[in-house]
């Protein structure tokens, strides 16, 4: 057998590649416009693959590229089988997959399982009356009283999870916007058809899916409608299919829940391969802002072990707001006060900003946060543009503020598109600090000390140390609360090869800080700093003393002979 159906996957690779991969999240609409119509497209992504390969990312995550009325950034799918025409066609998708694979880059796509657009033909049919063939494909009710235990997620816009459809004279169920009716997974036809959707895209060679909003697939009275056993059952069914027919492809679950609840989505290693770790993200910001490690160490100490062959997905920023659902009310108030000083920056339960403006443009902080991201347990996911420190425009509606065009060059339209300015899907940033004249790929490629080159170097170092992907994580105690030190290590292999150990020491403070670290267990070894390969003094009997520049960090290898 030469490979999966279609024969276009990356064959012969490590089936657990995702445990060591760096992901790169792409908004197709905003990445690069190949046909000059003002909107980014799949061919645009293909044209920029050389850049992504140079940067050193391992897997692209494409935001939804399906047919859609685009009332929710494409998360309102109106046809699962068709590419959104503005993005291209199936041939473009196949070409993108093949060209990516040729460069050793994998590619996964967003898939919304929970709901469709209200413009989807299934819903148009379902709403007509109570007897049509699709009548049962959505969740309908005579009143709006059922499932009262389910919270409302988009509190800024929605008042109820039920909306009356005048045509059918019944209420339909929706966990998100009222134009996104939930599919009825209790109907076996729906469950089977969605499995067909998965197969269809895996057959053209996609390496997996980011499964959007998975906790809400089923509804049961008397529950909060999240993480139900039926939902897990269904996901296990998907996984079985992937393992049997599409080995090496990955299911990444978006379940914005506490880690102890999220682990259920790994099953016993027989459900999703990856899950996002949501709560660690706001806490990284909180730790830096408060100059102390406890927000982070607390959540990591409450993060359960995951089955072998699974991995967390971790990120600093993405296309959504900085989510604050997974912090306490008190902490949310704090985060809003610190990072969303202008009320326009608040969105639902979060903060609608990109990384660089969040840290007041301080590159030292941005680098420190990336250093944490690249060395915490999990696979890091970069958001397009954060590698060059792009900004945001909080005056654009909804979540568009962080979805402006990628800034490739100081030329017209940021080098993103040759269309007329007025034709662009969103204006590129033009402010003096983050505008494309100041922040763009072309300029940073020329400048060896740019953030872009720094990011590339970090990814290169990370690639050399598999332990940063799968090693254990252990905090090293430092009395100084502003210092976060931890060890990633993997045990000696059966053959007796040496233990791979990386020690990370980070200063969360804007002031220089000292740290005395109890490293006696490595007595006699010489820590080697990984970015410069500089050997540090030998570890002795006494606590190991290091000093750190403001927001400074070290990655040390403590592997090798003493």
């Amino acid at each position: 057998m030469s490979g999966p159906p279609g024969g276009v996957g990356i064959t012969g690779g490590d089936p657990r590649w995702f445990q060591h991969a760096v992901f790169y999240e792409i908004l197709v609409r905003g990445f690069f416009d190949a046909n000059g119509d003002g909107t980014g497209d799949l061919r645009g992504v293909t044209e920029k693959l050389d850049y992504l390969q140079w940067l050193g990312v391992d897997c692209l995550w494409l935001l939804p590229f399906y047919q859609s009325p685009l009332r929710d950034g494409g998360y309102d799918i109106s046809d699962f089988w068709t590419i959104l025409p503005e993005y291209g066609d199936l041939a473009d998708a196949v070409e993108l997959v093949e060209e990516s694979h040729r460069r050793g880059i994998r590619i996964i796509a967003d898939l919304v399982m929970n709901h469709t657009s209200d413009q989807h033909p299934w819903f148009l049919e379902s709403r007509q009356d109570r007897t049509n063939p699709k009548a049962d494909w959505y969740v309908w009710g005579d009143d709006d009283t059922r499932y009262a235990g389910a919270r409302i997620i988009f509190v800024d816009t929605e008042k109820s999870n039920w909306t009356l459809d005048p045509q059918r004279g019944q209420f339909y169920w929706h966990r998100f916007f009222s134009h996104q009716p939930d599919l009825n997974y209790d109907n076996p036809e729906v469950a089977d058809t969605m499995l067909d959707v998965l197969r269809y895209w895996l057959d053209i060679g996609l390496d997996g899916f980011r499964l959007d909003a998975v906790p809400y697939l089923f509804e049961r009275e008397g529950t909060n409608g999240e993480n139900l056993p039926e939902t897990h059952e269904y996901l296990k069914r998907l996984r079985k299919e992937v393992d049997a027919v599409y080995p090496g492809r990955v299911l990444l679950a978006e379940a914005n829940q506490w880690p102890e609840d999220v682990v259920a989505y790994f099953g016993d290693g027989d459900e999703c391969h990856m899950c996002f770790h949501f709560p660690v993200m706001p806490r990284m910001f909180m730790a830096v802002r408060r100059e102390q490690r406890y927000p982070v160490t607390e959540i990591l100490s409450h993060t359960p072990e995951i089955p072998a062959g699974c991995q967390w997905g971790i990120f600093l920023r993405n296309h959504d707001e900085l989510t604050l659902e997974m912090v306490s009310d008190e902490e949310r108030d704090y985060m809003w006060a610190e990072y969303a000083k202008d009320p326009r920056m608040k969105r639902n339960m979060g903060i609608g900003r990109r990384l660089m403006p969040l840290v007041d443009g301080d590159r030292r902080v941005a680098e420190l946060l990336h250093a944490l991201l690249f060395s915490f347990p999990g696979s890091p996911i970069l958001y397009y543009g954060d590698e060059i420190g792009m900004g945001d425009n909080i005056y654009l509606g909804d979540r568009d503020g962080v979805r402006t065009p990628m800034q490739w060059a100081p030329d017209r339209n940021a080098g993103f598109s040759r269309a007329d300015f007025a034709q662009l899907y969103l204006p590129p940033l033009m402010d003096p600090v983050y505008g494309y004249q100041a922040v763009n790929v072309e300029a940073q490629l020329r400048n060896p000390s740019s953030q872009l080159h720094w990011t590339r170097r970090m990814l290169e170092v990370r690639r050399q140390h598999a332990v940063l992907g799968t090693g254990s994580f252990e905090v090293v105690s430092a009395e100084n609360p502003s210092v976060l030190a931890y060890v990633r290590s993997s045990p000696a292999a059966a053959g007796g090869s040496p233990v791979d150990t990386v020690l990370c020491v980070c200063n969360l403070s804007r002031f220089a800080q000292p740290a005395e670290l109890p490293l006696q267990r490595w007595q006699g070894k010489v820590p080697v700093e990984l970015l410069g390969r500089v050997p540090f003094p030998r570890i002795g009997e006494l606590p190991y003393f290091v000093t750190l520049a403001p927001y400074g960090f070290y990655w040390f290898e403590v592997t090798g002979a003493p």
Binding site: E291, E331, E338, V475, S477, E479, R521
Partner: protein, 449 residues
């Protein structure tokens, strides 16, 4: 343990110069011949094929009793371990030398199984900061062993309280792992080591440095705001008091029948003393004292921490932990064991916030009116959060005076503490007397106003 004749007969005289160099030694600077009497010695273990020995020696000098752990290695074996530890060398003899065994990792490692009756063992040991009354060793970053140096007959209060709290299920302490007791004396106490912990004092300074550097007036607006931590510390303090009451009982009469009045009367006398210098307006002192006196129901008494400040609270991943239940070392033991108002600990922590704010200011070398206002704002913002967290705890009301008297009782203990600080600063650090003085002015003002 076997009695041994291996230690030299003149051990007492050999120990005299060593003893006087130790921080935990409390006697005169010099001890003449016969100044140290050896009460008991025992060999605890030997290593290196019987060539290295660990001895316990209980000695008495100038009326105090001490524990010395003596290490012995053969002469000629020149270990690095003595380097930089000149103070720990006891004697170089013809065929061997003697030294403080806590600096010898090989011997110190053997202490853990001895102390815990074989329940615990470790592969690594490191000493941590030397304290006034004990020496601490950390094993495998997992267990901390306090070796008590100055011995007092009876149960060591830290051991007694920590063990009692553990027994009633209070988890915000370093859990006991073993008590080493010999005759009437507690010699050592093994506890869980709070790896990854920082002292509350260090966290408060982190917040303060951020706040002073931000140039803001409102500490709540600064990124390093400490109030969430302060609030949680308040909650843990209330839980501690409830556990204390459960473990050691509640005394409903003690304060009502005179102990509170005694505190007020002592506070009044000392305040009038300060007023006599002209440092405080006498009239205000009198009005404030009347307010304290007017309290008819000062509330129940419980065993408290007794020396509660930011240095005794440790922040780790599981939240706040409370350490060191020995009480104020300067006070006599009976007084430290005496039940008193739970608000005494609350007052102690409020004073600690005040000190932290002023200390961080001193650090920066700025003490203008504006920065003093900033320090005051930080202390009262976080003090309020601490008290709110404390009072929010279910059940804590039962340990406190009724609402109408609460503020006055708290103020009485704050004043008591600030007056103690004033005495201390005037004796040892006159440059710091402004801190307690400002507190006295502020608290009396609050009471009189």
């Amino acid at each position: 343990m076997t009695l041994t004749a291996a230690l030299p007969g003149d051990l007492g005289d050999l120990l005299a110069p060593y003893l006087t160099r130790q921080r935990w030694y409390a006697g005169p600077d010099e001890l003449g011949p016969g100044g140290v009497s050896v009460l008991e010695t025992a060999e605890l273990c030997s290593t290196g094929g019987g060539s290295r020995h660990l001895y316990l020696a209980l000695v008495e000098a100038a009326g105090s009793r001490y524990q010395v752990l003596v290490g012995e290695r053969p002469a000629g074996e020149h270990p690095e371990l003595l380097q930089g530890h000149g103070d720990g060398i006891i004697a170089g003899l013809e065929d061997r030398y003697l030294y403080d065994a806590t600096i010898d990792a090989e011997l110190a490692k053997e202490l853990l199984p001895i102390v815990t009756g074989g329940a615990e063992a470790a592969t690594r040991v490191r000493p941590v900061g030397a304290e006034q009354s004990n020496t601490s060793l950390v094993y495998d970053d997992r267990i901390i062993l306090k070796v008590f140096r100055r011995l007092v007959a009876g149960r060591n209060p830290d051991v007694a309280v920590t063990t009692a709290l553990d027994r009633v299920g209070f988890t915000h302490i370093a859990r006991p792992r073993g008590v080493w007791r010999r005759g009437d004396y507690d010699l050592g106490f093994a506890q869980e080591f709070l790896a990854g912990g920082s002292e509350g004092w260090a966290l408060a300074l982190t917040s303060l440095r951020d706040f002073y550097n931000s140039g803001l007036d409102d500490p709540a607006a600064a990124g390093g705001d400490f109030s969430m931590e302060a609030r949680r510390l308040g909650a843990v303090t209330a839980q501690l008091h409830l556990a204390m009451a459960e473990a050691m009982g509640v005394d409903h009469d003690r304060l009502v029948s005179g102990r509170y009045a005694a505190v007020v009367s002592s506070v009044r006398d000392r305040l009038l003393g300060v007023a006599a210098d002209g440092t405080l307006p006498r009239r205000r002192v009198e009005v404030a004292a009347e307010r304290l006196d007017a309290v008819s129901r000062p509330g129940p008494a419980i065993r408290v921490h007794g020396d509660f400040h930011l240095g005794q609270a440790m922040r780790a991943d599981g939240g706040w932990y409370v350490l060191d239940f020995e009480g104020e070392p300067a006070r006599p033991l009976e007084e430290r064991l005496e039940p008193t108002s739970a608000l005494k600990d609350v007052a102690g922590m409020l004073r600690s916030f005040d000190y932290a704010a002023r200390f961080a200011l001193q650090e920066r070398g700025t003490a203008g009116t504006e920065s003093l206002a900033a320090a005051g704002a930080w202390a009262s913002h976080n003090g309020a959060a601490f008290v709110a967290g404390y009072l929010d705890q279910d059940g804590i009301d039962s340990l406190l005076p009724p609402d109408v008297d609460r503020e006055a009782v708290l103020a009485a203990y704050e004043l008591d503490k600030a007056l103690y600080e004033l005495g201390y600063e005037r004796s040892y650090r006159p440059a710091w007397e402004a801190i307690p003085l400002a507190a006295l002015a502020r608290i009396t003002d609050r009471l009189a106003g």
